[in-house]
Amino acid sequence: MKSINQIIAVTALNIRNLPQRIGGSLVAVVGVAAVVLVFAAVLSMAKGFERTMVNAGSTDTAIVMRSGSTAELNSGLSNEQVLIVTNSEGIMRDGDEPVASAELYVVVDIRKKGTNDDANVPLRGVQAGAFDVRKNISLAEGRMFETGKNEFIVGRAAQSEFAGLDVGSEIRFGQINWQVVGVFEADGSVSESELWTDVRVLQDVYRRGNSFQSVRVKLENEAALKGLQESLAADPRIDADVMTERDYYSGQAQGLSQFIKMVGYPLTILMAIGAVFGALNSMYASVTVRGKEIATLRALGFGPMPVLFSTIIESTLLALTGGIIGGGLAFVVFNGFRVSTLNGASFSQVVFDFAVTPDLLWQGLIAALIIGLVGGFFPAIRAARLPVAQALREL
């Protein structure tokens, strides 16, 4: 009990006279803040991207593409094959019609807002069932495109990132003028990065005959996926990959998000090592400055343990302060920060918001705590071992 009281007393003393050593302490705080800021900022990119991609996929919608195609852009299905898929067992029906949408996916060049650079924006041709096979998707502004006309609706995210996509405006791809007639929202998911039009119009304009690239079907339940996979595998007329939409989009997200993590985590570890050096430096300095004080305390009868702990606590508190500042800054500056980038997997732009999530902040704080503990430990040992007589003589 006595030693706990001593620890509290010495720590309180320590913290009270922190302002006298503010220079060195600030360095430690800023160093840790930078680590947590960079960590949260970089990883929030991966989080945001994953959220956008995974949000898009539901587990009871299956997507069917030509086998081996890895992405919609690479795939191709004939009309006959689409009919085989939509008439399979286990697909939800609305009256007599299967809930399905056979789609074409192409890329058009549109200028990024505020730049002179064209970006690969996905233009998707859809059937009437497109809204039913996806979840949380709705028309937010304007009207739906009419079939057979050169008009499209635009995702909210695409509209905010790319130029000339306001409702009512006209935009030219190749030789065709298109009319923007509406805006749809899809819970911030990847669909919002796309433009949607009637699949028949797109087949015409891109001379794709009566072919498609993918077909989405609403399953009666999640278990129906296996049945669909088996029945299509057994059918000689079609050679297709069948997966849930969620699995498809997680696969599409993997490349970029793994890349960000592959850069982000080693980066953080390296920076954290740098911050440990910084913290060690300032804690050693703090112990040196407090040498007389510590010696006096020891002479008054305080044990080495309170001195040791008070130094570690001081460094941990400084590091946590830094962590909170860094995490807070990351949240204020980066959370919701909207970017668009080229996703290699689909060769088209994905618009997403950075997401500084609570678990990122938590991991950042843990990193700060570790930096503080390591940075305080060795100086603390020196403080505890300080030869009392010699230190007092220096007075």
């Binding site: 220079g23 060195g24 360095v27 800023v30 160093g31 930078a34 680590v35 800021l37 960079v38 900022a41 970089v42 990119m45 030509r66 086998s67 081996g68 195609s69 890895t70 992405a71 852009l73 690479n74 191709g76 192409v106 890329v107 058009v108 060049d109 990024k112 730049t115 650079d117 064209d118 970006a119 690969n120 791809f173 190749g174 030789q175 891109y206 001379r207 050679d239 890349f259 850069v263 980066l267 390296l270 920076m271 090592i273 740098g274 911050a275 050096f277 910084g278 060690l280 430096n281 300032s282 050693y284 300095a285 970017v339 668009s340 980038t341 080229l342 060769f347 732009q349």
Partner: protein, 385 residues
């Protein structure tokens, strides 16, 4: 220079502190090296693109093909010296994660278009002769352990064969290198004739054309002439210099470069703070010593120089070490993941930037304590000591 011994000993007065400072500087420059190498990869080779080469793509987007019939029309445009073409194959080796670039093209024309790609003459001939032949870059060959004579199966993600198969088999006839260390060789070339004959659809088209302009010709005029030629046709073209094409592709990645810059900024801010603080600490502790130096007849200037040099020295030791380790790691990275992230490269420019940052940061960190040391009044300082 004559004070070097003094500076050196001063720097190591507090071994732990100086070592820790050097280590944090080292970490910072190691980060700098890694990030600038990765940032370089995102420029998609914009630096190595030649100005005398133009790229012709479909106006709608790169993924839309162009008719093969355009080749002769482009070739006959005034000012065009030679033309070749390539297409995107988009296959992988064994598993989807082993994805790299493969281009069906015309063997002789392609290597004539890219003189920086070196391949032994006999290998090029063998490649041109063998319909199912292919050549790969040195980076790829190292990564997958391929040797000339190997039979390499590539899984197509787009191009199914007319017989319904998805596996394209190639005979490796040669391995090429890129003279320019910045250029990637993580790709495979194979014969367009084989591609055209065996694919199930898309016949009669190519992905893009690459052309070389005659010396002295104006690339912009030629680009316009080509685009005008095909205006109002079903496949309009968009012609740009290879450099502009690479740069615009790189920009598709968006703000990633900006984010990398911001991270670097944060790192250096931290670095400056840590080392700056250490420097001013060590000068503060040494005030009486500096006063003694001045008493002994050292000029104000010399004292300023000594303190400043010490800070630059510390920055250089850490910086060079960090850059060196970073350089080694980047070499390793280029070897290990060349196929997935081609173009990882620590450019001489980045190293130069790093060196100037070392000097700049050293000066910034040392200048306040140094000036303080210079202005030191001997009497006050000795009295305080």
């Amino acid at each position: 220079m004559k004070y070097l011994g003094l500076i050196w000993r001063n720097a190591w007065r507090k071994k732990i502190r100086t070592s820790l400072t050097i280590l944090s500087v080292l970490v910072a420059f190691l980060l700098f090296a890694l990030l600038s190498a990765i940032g370089y990869a995102f420029k998609s080779g914009a630096d190595v693109a030649a100005a005398e080469r133009l790229v012709v793509i479909n106006r709608i987007s790169l993924i839309n093909p162009l008719p093969i019939s355009y080749q002769s029309r482009i070739a006959s445009t005034p000012g065009v010296e030679s033309v070749t073409h390539a297409s995107w194959f988009g296959g992988y080796y064994q598993e989807p994660r082993n994805q790299f670039a493969q281009f069906p093209t015309v063997a002789g024309d392609y290597f004539a278009m890219y003189p920086e790609l070196n391949i032994p003459e006999e290998q090029l001939e063998a490649f041109a002769k063998n319909r199912t032949g292919a050549v790969v870059g040195h980076e790829l060959a190292t990564q997958f352990g391929w040797k000339v004579g190997d039979r390499i199966p590539i899984q197509a993600t787009i191009w199914t064969k007319a017989d319904g198969g998805r596996t394209w088999e190639f005979d490796l006839e040669g391995i090429f290198r890129n003279e320019d260390p910045r250029g990637s060789t993580a790709f495979m070339l194979f014969n367009y004739d084989y591609f055209e004959e065996a694919r199930a659809f898309g016949k009669g088209t190519v992905g893009w054309y690459i052309l070389r302009v005659e010396p002295g010709a104006n690339p912009v005029e030629i680009a316009n002439a080509i685009d005008e030629q095909f205006a109002n046709s079903p496949s309009e073209t968009d012609t740009s210099t290879e450099a502009a094409f690479a740069a615009s592709f790189a920009k598709q990645f968006g703000n990633i470069a900006l984010i990398v810059t911001m991270i670097l900024g944060a790192v250096f801010f931290t670095l400056l703070l840590v080392s700056g603080n250490t420097m001013s600490q060590s000068v503060r502790e040494r005030i009486s010593e500096l006063a003694v130096l001045k008493t002994l007849g050292f000029s104000d200037r010399s004292v300023l120089g000594i303190v400043l040099s010490e800070s630059i020295l510390i920055m250089f030791i850490g910086g060079i070490l960090g850059l060196g380790i970073g350089w080694l790691l980047v070499q390793g990275m280029a070897q290990q993941m060349g196929a997935f992230l081609p173009g990882v490269y620590l450019s001489p420019l980045s190293m130069l930037v790093a060196l100037s940052i070392m000097i700049g940061a050293g000066v910034l960190a040392g200048v306040f304590p140094a000036v303080k040391a210079m202005r030191l009044s001997i009497v006050d300082a000795l009295a305080r000591g």
